[in-house]
Subunit: 413 residues, 2 copies
């Protein structure tokens, strides 16, 4: 079965806006067991859209077209959809009434150009869009079923999930595409090439399972997908492969699918009834900022001493000037002292990070980072050599200092 | 002149990787006075690539193809380029020697599959790629000139700037495309719709000038472009329109083109010989993290007291518990006190921010944010009601607290 997308909009061809709708759909197509065959992006020109749609109608089995369904004169998609299928545009009364009602309930004046959005190619299936004005519609032409959606990402996403995917899954099942189950394992502290090496035998050990990799700095994600005769069999196969992959990757896996690093660390602290306070140097507040991305973080995050200069380390964290002078502000001893000072804010755990993020090196090379954890029962600390530019070193260092909580509680959980 | 791009790679059709190469090229095409007509993304299948290239050769005047030039068996683009042009692939000796030399100098074993990358369609122009192994090559077929580039973003960007754009600009000049000059004005503290309203007369006042808008949360960018008979005339016209736009938008414009907010605020502090210290609550360290993104920030950033809990506000910043109880941790008085405590770290300016980032409201609604600045000569403070979700409120609040330095030094600069 051939699946395609077509996105229209001049803004997508000037570099002003990046098309993300097609990637959103592509990911879901893939999870459903198939793969997108082509994505085209074209501008707001009638002849161009009609030509592209004629090719699409003749080439694809299933397609999604996004954009150009608005009320203004440069919204050409509905008319092009009709022309390419050699049918007229017709006013769809239920849609017109819905749009009028929508405007009335919001106290917005209904102007004549808004009627455009109720004009649909004859014979098309019309699908209500509760998230916006323009409806979705589905044109069947030859063997192709083509869904037309608004380009507004929020409306596109909602309609894609609730209306397009059920239609696509039904078509795939009819076409005999095997069910697929997908899981993303999110890792920190292991390079993509090492994940690859660790899990290289998984596809052989579990026939029907494939692997893919994706880097979202500083996280590396392993994607597993399993195909089998039934959805239940695919889920069972995936579960086996996931257990094997987790066994190989160990604690490098911090979560799966929708989990975020911030919420995973926060959830662990919450579960332990613990609080945390930080002292940050090279990360400049980034570690606390990441931990506080999760709502309710004030239950476990006390605060952070961002001591960006040596003087601030003395003033805020009480680090003796002679220690700073002797060991250097980026050093194991100073980092351990900073972690103690952080815990002194009244937290269960004190975390600290110092380092050289670059581009200029200090007394140690760029990428040298120290992290430390201080608790009532014990302390931990590590020296790291992190790769990449300033932004990358800072993000890696922020994750590394927070990740110490996972190390500390390992086994205790 | 018709300009297109074609990107190949299965990873672009599974949602794993988003195609950013075409947007990179599109932005430069647009700045050069033209516009991309179409972008196609297809997978690694020989028949699909050959078919897409045949259409491209017959339809486009100038095109860029990216991806599929690597050494492995799923890298099919060079062979497809030859098939679609009905010419054979030929071994290009200078390229083969360059690749062998590259491997030798890096102590990497040269395996037979690496020879693939030296096989080029007969008659194509070969362009050295100092940033990677696979060369760029240019196929001329019919009226079309098609540049083939590696898909690795870094190599694509370098070759795009140094090799593709000079060829495109020459073709555009020959085709009579009027020269264009482009400027991006970066704004904070004004909504896109308000920028639109402010500058609505610019295209009428300056014929040949157009405007576009782009939001990169929490910044809003105004793009101005001017077309005229010569490059010098376009630059002069752009300068006039820019002066007018800056007059209308005033201090909301913090920079242009490659300027970053972090570097603009940092540059201002450096120019004033000033230092800054922060006290942050709802932003959780994000304001200091943004300011320290710029290399050399330790020249002007002392640090930040991230006081995420009321107890931390007392412990770290000496805010009296009864004041916190009476006024609330998110309040004008507490924010002013926090700014004083921040300056007490030994900085020229103390900045503070408190607020409710959501999703749950406190004693005040979500989006309520207080910012304050404390200096030796005077203090400033503001209450803001910021829109959006938790992430958006936090980013807006972080910018707002830092932006006070621009307000403070306005006129003094």
């Amino acid at each position: 079965m051939r699946i395609e997308t077509l996105c229209t909009g001049d803004e997508l061809l000037t570099g002003v806006t990046v098309d993300t709708n097609s990637a959103y759909f592509a990911e879901r197509v893939f999870a459903a067991g198939a793969m997108l065959d082509r994505n085209e992006v074209i501008g707001d020109r009638m002849d161009e859209i009609v030509e592209a749609l004629r090719s699409l109608y003749s080439r694809a089995d299933f397609a999604v077209v996004s954009g150009g369904l608005g009320p203004t004169s440069d919204d050409l998609t509905a008319e092009a959809a009709a022309r390419a299928a050699d049918v007229p545009l017709e006013l769809h009364e239920p849609t017109l009434n819905r749009i009028r009602e929508r405007f009335r309930s919001r106290n917005i004046e209904f102007t004549p150009n808004n009627e455009r959005q109720a004009r649909i190619p004859r014979g098309a299936e019309v699908v209500d869009n509760p998230w916006g004005t323009a409806p979705m519609f589905v044109v069947t032409s030859g063997r192709a079923r083509v869904c037309f959606l608004p380009g507004v990402p929020r409306e596109f996403h909602k309609l894609c999930d609730s209306e397009v995917m059920p239609r696509l899954r039904a078509a795939l099942e009819k076409g005999g595409t095997p069910p697929r189950a997908v899981r993303t394992l999110k890792c920190f502290g292991i390079a993509e090439s090492h994940i690859d090496h660790q899990v290289r035998d998984i596809p052989q050990r579990f026939p029907g399972v494939r692997v893919a990799f994706r880097t979202t700095l500083p996280e590396n994600h392993l994607k597993l997908w399993a195909e089998a005769g039934t959805r239940e069999a695919a889920e069972a196969l995936l579960a086996q492969a996931e257990t094997a992959a987790r066994g190989l990757l160990g604690s490098r896996v911090f979560g799966a699918d929708e989990d975020t690093f911030s919420a995973v660390v926060g959830g662990l602290l919450r579960k332990q009834g613990a609080t945390v306070a930080l002292a940050e140097s090279c990360t400049g507040g980034l570690a606390a900022a990441i931990l506080s991305e999760t709502p309710g973080a004030s239950d476990y995050l006390v605060g952070s001493l961002v001591t960006y200069t040596p003087a601030a380390k003395t003033k805020l964290a009480g680090i003796a000037p002679d220690l700073l002078g002797r060991e250097g502000p980026v050093s194991e001893t100073v980092t351990i002292e900073l972690a103690r000072a952080a815990r002194g804010m009244g937290a269960t755990l004190g975390l600290a990070v110092t380092g050289y993020a670059g581009p200029e090196a200090g007394t140690l090379p760029v990428g040298t980072v120290f992290v430390a954890l201080d608790a009532a029962d014990r302390g931990m600390n590590r020296r790291l050599q992190l790769p990449g530019d300033r932004e990358q070193v800072r993000r890696l260092a922020a994750y590394a200092v927070l990740d110490q909580t996972r190390t500390y509680y390992r086994g205790a959980a």
